[in-house]
């Protein structure tokens, strides 16, 4: 490609609404252009990156035996009513009425459409397993679209769906995708982690997120310094406390703590470590009667160490709390504890509640908690002596850095990540809702066992930039760079030698299959270099009149601090060596 035949449109300033560096740099580099909130045109420079991402994804999906199709962007609501998602999905689902006032949606994913294909086409177990995928435009009407392609409304996703005759088959299909995803993310040339994720109501351990590591990532990801264990914060566990509960060493004492309603304030006031305090969280669950009205409400007191945070996913899996809990109201709290939040604790309740202690709290002695009286806390609290053992002991907290890894090997560390892929065992959730069956070997209809597998094709370039940039611009990995190499001739219009040398190198590299761009725009060197450093093309060859007179040109990788002089006669071979071309 020659720059004069391409569209290069760089900006000095990022738009005011660009909060993150990938949004700023993609806009400044002319890769994306905002059409509406969360809706972007992929400009030629950006589209080249997206196409390279697509090509890698497509190759590895095909290699893994998945078959590409393309489902409609505009889908009939009737399918989405079958699974109930038309009703339950909320305003994220973009709804349309056509000219005949029939309801449609713009696809956010395609479980319904693909399950509809399966129930028509996959009639016999002999046709299974099958994995259908598409790389197609999606829309999610985010309440607050932001960060450019990171949290856009319209985006491109690769979504794959596997269909198997039984759970063992579905799990094998899942593992094939897990391997394919590692192959895909290895090829992108990014630092990433596959982390275990929560699989929600379906249960089991078959859910992994693929996270590109970046300090600006929205997700906290947890990994062990001593093993391969990795999970997202929702899912991550630490090893249970190893040491038994110490004996009581202090007397139970009511201590005035006026105005100190947080564990941190109390610890500071009493000059004790924060981890000696216990925080009280009050939840409630409602039992519905036959008419669907709230029949009975159960109040729960959750006890966590002062330096720990509740993990809602873990709490939602406890018996009695299964995904339907809510925070208690202030009147409910006053009714049970006799005081308002800030001074709550498990002792001297007005009405009984169910007490759930985090595993760490259950092995504490001489701890501090609220006295259920405004402006007072209790110190020297001890299980058994001052209050009964908790109704339930469980892991209900987020892990923190330094926790022991759950496999006993090493400590947990935490880093930030950007989710760009997610693989998920679905079981029969969709096939049952849509009555999608095949005839099994015994002649009986059975529901498909399904899995779904997504990659955020347009989010990936943004994540790559969050990980790879400097103050001058983007630094693309070779695999997904818009161009692999740029030839920058200095003074091309004044020097026939420069022009001829640049053209010759260009032709040689094109012939060698290198994705090269020759900047023949005639820009000044400073502006030209700034453009390409902003755009982030990883390899650059600069050809100037002075160098050529000494038989030399310059090579510089985008990460190099300074250029390397290379004999002009050797530059093609040198570049091919650097690129492995």
């Amino acid at each position: 490609m020659k720059a004069s035949q391409f569209l290069i449109s760089t900006l000095k300033e990022a738009p005011a609404d660009a909060e993150v560096v990938s949004h700023q740099l993609m806009t400044r580099a002319g890769m994306i252009k905002r059409l509406s909130a969360g809706v972007y045109t992929y400009m030629p420079m950006g589209l080249r990156v997206i196409r390279k991402v697509e090509a890698i994804v497509r190759e590895e999906m095909n290699r893994a035996g998945a078959v590409e199709c393309s489902m409609p962007v505009v889908q009939p609501a009737e399918l989405w009513r079958e699974t109930g998602r038309f009703q339950t999905m909320g305003p994220e689902l973009l709804r349309i009425q056509d000219r005949h006032e029939r309801d449609f949606v713009v696809q956010p994913t395609s479980e319904e459409a693909v399950t509809d294909i399966a129930r028509q086409d996959f009639r016999s177990y002999k046709q299974l397993p099958k994995n259908l995928y598409q790389i197609q435009t999606k829309f999610r009407d985010e309440r607050r679209p932001r960060f450019g392609l990171m949290r856009g409304r319209e985006f491109v996703m690769k979504d794959a769906y596997s269909f198997d005759r039984d759970e063992a088959g579905a799990k094998a299909s899942y593992q094939i995708m897990a391997r394919a995803y590692r192959a895909i993310f290895d090829r992108f040339g990014l630092s990433y982690r596959a982390v275990a994720a929560d699989s929600g109501a379906i249960g089991g351990d078959l859910s992994e997120e693929f996270q590109v590591i970046a300090s600006t990532g929205e997700d906290a990801i947890v990994y062990s310094t001593g093993s391969g264990y990795a999970a997202n914060m929702e899912k991550a566990e630490s090893a249970a406390p190893a040491a038994p509960r110490p004996g009581a060493g202090q007397a139970l004492t009511k201590t005035p703590t006026p105005g100190k309603s947080t564990c941190a304030d109390v610890a500071e006031l009493l000059s004790i470590p924060l981890k000696s305090t216990v925080k009280s969280l009050v939840l409630a669950t409602d039992t519905l009667d036959d008419q669907g009205e709230v029949g009975k409400t159960q109040v729960w007191l959750l006890l966590l160490r002062g330096d720990h945070d509740m993990n809602e996913i873990k709490v939602g899996k406890l018996p009695g709390l299964n995904e339907s809990f809510r925070f208690a109201t202030v009147p409910e709290i006053i009714e049970h504890f006799g005081t308002k939040p800030g001074y709550l604790g498990p002792i001297q309740l007005k009405k009984p509640v169910k007490v759930v202690a985090d595993r760490e709290v259950a092995v504490m002695a001489d701890w501090v908690c609220g006295a259920n009286e405004e402006d007072f806390h209790l110190t020297g609290v001890n299980w058994g002596r001052d209050l009964p053992e908790p109704d339930l002991v469980a892991d209900i907290r987020n892990v923190v850095a330094g926790d022991p890894s759950p496999d006993g090997q090493g400590e947990l560390a935490i880093q930030r990540g950007i989710e760009v892929g997610h693989i998920f065992f679905l079981g029969t959730k969709y096939s049952k809702a849509m009555n999608a069956t095949f005839l099994d070997e015994d002649g009986k209809p059975k529901h498909f066992q399904m899995g779904c597998y997504g990659i955020g094709v347009t989010r990936l370039p943004a994540a790559a930039i969050e990980q790879n940039h400097d103050e001058r611009g983007i630094i693309w990995p070779d695999a997904i760079a818009p161009f692999t190499l740029v030839i920058c001739p200095v003074g091309m219009d004044r020097s026939e030698a420069v022009k001829a040398s640049a053209e010759s190198l260009y032709q040689d590299l094109v012939a060698a299959g290198v994705d090269v761009i020759l900047d023949d725009r005639g820009e000044r060197p400073g502006a030209m270099f700034a453009d390409w450093e902003l755009i982030g093309v990883p390899h650059r060859v600069t050809i100037g009149d002075r160098g050529l007179k000494e038989g030399q040109v310059e090579y510089q990788h985008r990460r190099d601090a300074a250029p390397t002089k290379v004999a002009a006669a050797d530059i093609t071979a040198f570049v091919k060596g650097r690129l492995g071309a």
Copy 2:
């Protein structure tokens, strides 16, 4: 590709709603699957065809200097309000409101979005010309979607838009596209015609349609048997009548024609040729006053030969009728002619009308028309003697087969076509509406001169099938076949020799870059052959045990009546020769 790893899903019966052969065959061959009226999933077999169409289009567009981008599917209504199309486009434009009740549309084309890019990015004449294109999902909410991919609601279009500093530049850009389109359609391997089309209000001759020839096509296209002249029916002209008007030979006579209200009926009654009759069409134009109310109405009488039809586009270009005419109402007709339609003519009017005679009518003598009296016609009518010369003589009719070509070379012939491409000079229609300007060399802002260029990517395969099929199924041209060649091993499960031979040929052809599929499903020969004939793969090699014992395999092109025996040892070379691989 091996069939066992692909998705082959053929049907014996076409769906009841499939009226045309391409819809029937694409559905039966498992290439598309209906999700909703006019909304289809492109199944793996169909997607391969679409991807090949896309690749050819992309290569030739890039070669012609166009640059690919991708504009959003969901576009904000505010842009569409700038050009007025949000208000004027009617229910074909699919409208959406997002969660904040802001209006959006699903793009039917992207003139607005691309002009918005141009007015932001193309600031100087130095950046021009530019041509931006995309291959992207579109939606038009057709009142009556039908014919599968021929008239769907969701479809894929390649749409390109050129931006130039002046009209000469825009016309040069148009010609570059005209050549690129010929290169694209040549590569598809279809019989097609580029035909002149009407360019509407913009004027000029810069509008061409690319029509795939098919007897089932919706469009009538006109071409000369003696030259390269071709146009669609709206646009096509014939040479003006060469012979002068003959002198009058008959007396004007009022003849009873009871109940004969059409030219055909009258010609039959009087035993004269239909082309000796003249039909009267009554139009009206309304002049609006300052308040926008109808001020004055002008009634027009159009005279056409009895065997000719009016061409509304041509009529709409006449002075005084410019695109705003309507058919007159019955009261208006009675007011001017004294009788109701069926017996109208230009003689003995009650109130004056403007008379427009088609060029052919103007040179007639002794003709027949209505007498402006129910159940009576006039015969022996002659211009000058019986009525004044017409107010206007013009070409206002559709051409018919046998008309002389307008370039004087050959006769016109008519065939049916399917429009799959359209190129169009737009001028400043969109750039003025959206105030899209660049700074010209003189430092002044000027409006872009634009062109737009479309190809119906998903309609093209349907058109190819309408042109290329037989009673057994589709016959793909090599360039866009889902697979170029299929290897059909007979009795692969029983014969190691067949299996080894098929596998060996498969590997050889893959290595030679042939897009080959090996049917390893183990189907019976009859079912296997029927599948591939339905799917329309153009080249087939059949390998059977009996043939192999004689050292032979069979090659058959999809159009061949019978297979050709080829020495097994030579089959790779034979196939490569046939494919030019």
